[in-house]
Symmetry: C2
Subunit: 302 residues, 2 copies
Amino acid sequence: METCLSQIETARPRIGFIGLGTMGAPMALNLVKAGFEVSVPDRRSLPSIVRATTTICSDIADVAQTSEIIILMLPDTSDVENVVFGPGGIAAADLAGKLVVDMSSISPQATKTIADQLIAIGCQYLDAPVSGGQIGAKAGTLTIMAGGSKAAFERAKPILQALGKSITHVGEANGAGQVCKIANQMIVALNIQAVAEAFALVSRFGIDKVKVREAMLGGFAGSRVLDVHGQRMIEGAFEPGFRIALHRKDLRLAMHVAETLGASIPATEVVEQLFTDAIDQGGSNWDHSALYRIAERGNRFT
Amino acid sequence: METCLSQIETARPRIGFIGLGTMGAPMALNLVKAGFEVSVPDRRSLPSIVRATTTICSDIADVAQTSEIIILMLPDTSDVENVVFGPGGIAAADLAGKLVVDMSSISPQATKTIADQLIAIGCQYLDAPVSGGQIGAKAGTLTIMAGGSKAAFERAKPILQALGKSITHVGEANGAGQVCKIANQMIVALNIQAVAEAFALVSRFGIDKVKVREAMLGGFAGSRVLDVHGQRMIEGAFEPGFRIALHRKDLRLAMHVAETLGASIPATEVVEQLFTDAIDQGGSNWDHSALYRIAERGNRFT
């Protein structure tokens, strides 16, 4: 632990990290392990290992003031808006020449608005949401999808390489990373529903799901979801994992983006409704593979 | 070529093969290559290589009469019903002690009815539909999902091993193989729609699909469909492959089975409707990955 001082000369950029939750804390630690100096805002909830290895600043604006690159890892769009522009937010610091990397999963439209405002005051902006969950965050094996200028991406790259194993610059427009993340979540949700419907059908015929999963894994129906969530459905192991409430948030973002862009996502809309059914039945905190619970009840549409 | 004689003593069972289309012809040839004696009915459409290497019988009943194990590989439920019970069908032969293996993809309910009638006259029955397409049929690498008694499965096994690489006895009830095949087709259809919706969304935002596929393949959205059909969508390569009209047939079977069993398959129903949209737009013979063509037109439901 080191108290928050003015910026120290180092070969590597000093990083400010805001949002030290279940994802952010292990990510910040991976940056420390990779040799970066990391500043974080003082919070009671700060894990002791984070407190022991990073520089503790009094508040968010101080983190921004003393860092060259500021990483955000926050729950939702409104959290990012507050941390950037709210009272005592990072925009209270002098951001000219700095780079903000938002690794949260939030609205692409809001991302574009935030990015435009920061770029207007001479700050670079990269949206770089991740896939891979807490396991990927801990292991430094996240999939990272980045949107923003080539310059912003190249500047962030050494940092992203300490956090993920697959890092793709998907587009030069801010929001492109967020749209790609949303598309990823659509595919995962629909692939889960595919397995849930298939397994519900075979179960009702009296067929053992273990054999079905085994028969299909090597063929054209094969997927990571059939492998991992197919196994969860067999075991009835629906502790998160990735919570249904969070996945529904992503599908609602998808529906909003689709509406804005005039895209047609009818199957995604069905799964959003099924997540809502699950939540109505007390399933907010079930793992998203618990779509199987809804499917196996049967006859929803008749 | 050999004319149809009374059964010759051999160590291996003599096989009758009925249904020598794009799938059946290469499958019959793989049985010849594996050393089985194969009888087929005389047909003008018989590929010359099949004609040259198999025993030609005058009709279907003769094939059944001179074979110990009779394999069916036919387009649809009514074809199987006709070949079994129609005029000059295999039921005209003495089937007692023989084994019928239906490798067509047809209705599980009809399968159960046919199986019950054949079993009542002392014939064994195995439904063993396949996945893997013409490529798998030629290479002998089909995925085979079998339903029927253990005895029927064990008797068919040496034959199935010459045709496929993944052979699973999914259940002891006849129809179990068909239900498993239907479940497989549901997963494939929904996984295609997942990629189609995701790709349509990112494209409208101006993101390159090549990068999105690349970013997602190693992660949780990864699947055989994202790999193979994602590439088709990128290239706009919608020649079959597997025709939309055939895949819709499978989804309609799924809907019929689901209704009978009281299962809920709402996302499958959406994709059946999208296949119908494609067919209405002249897409019967498009590859099933052309669901992307429907998705990229946008705004269907608004």
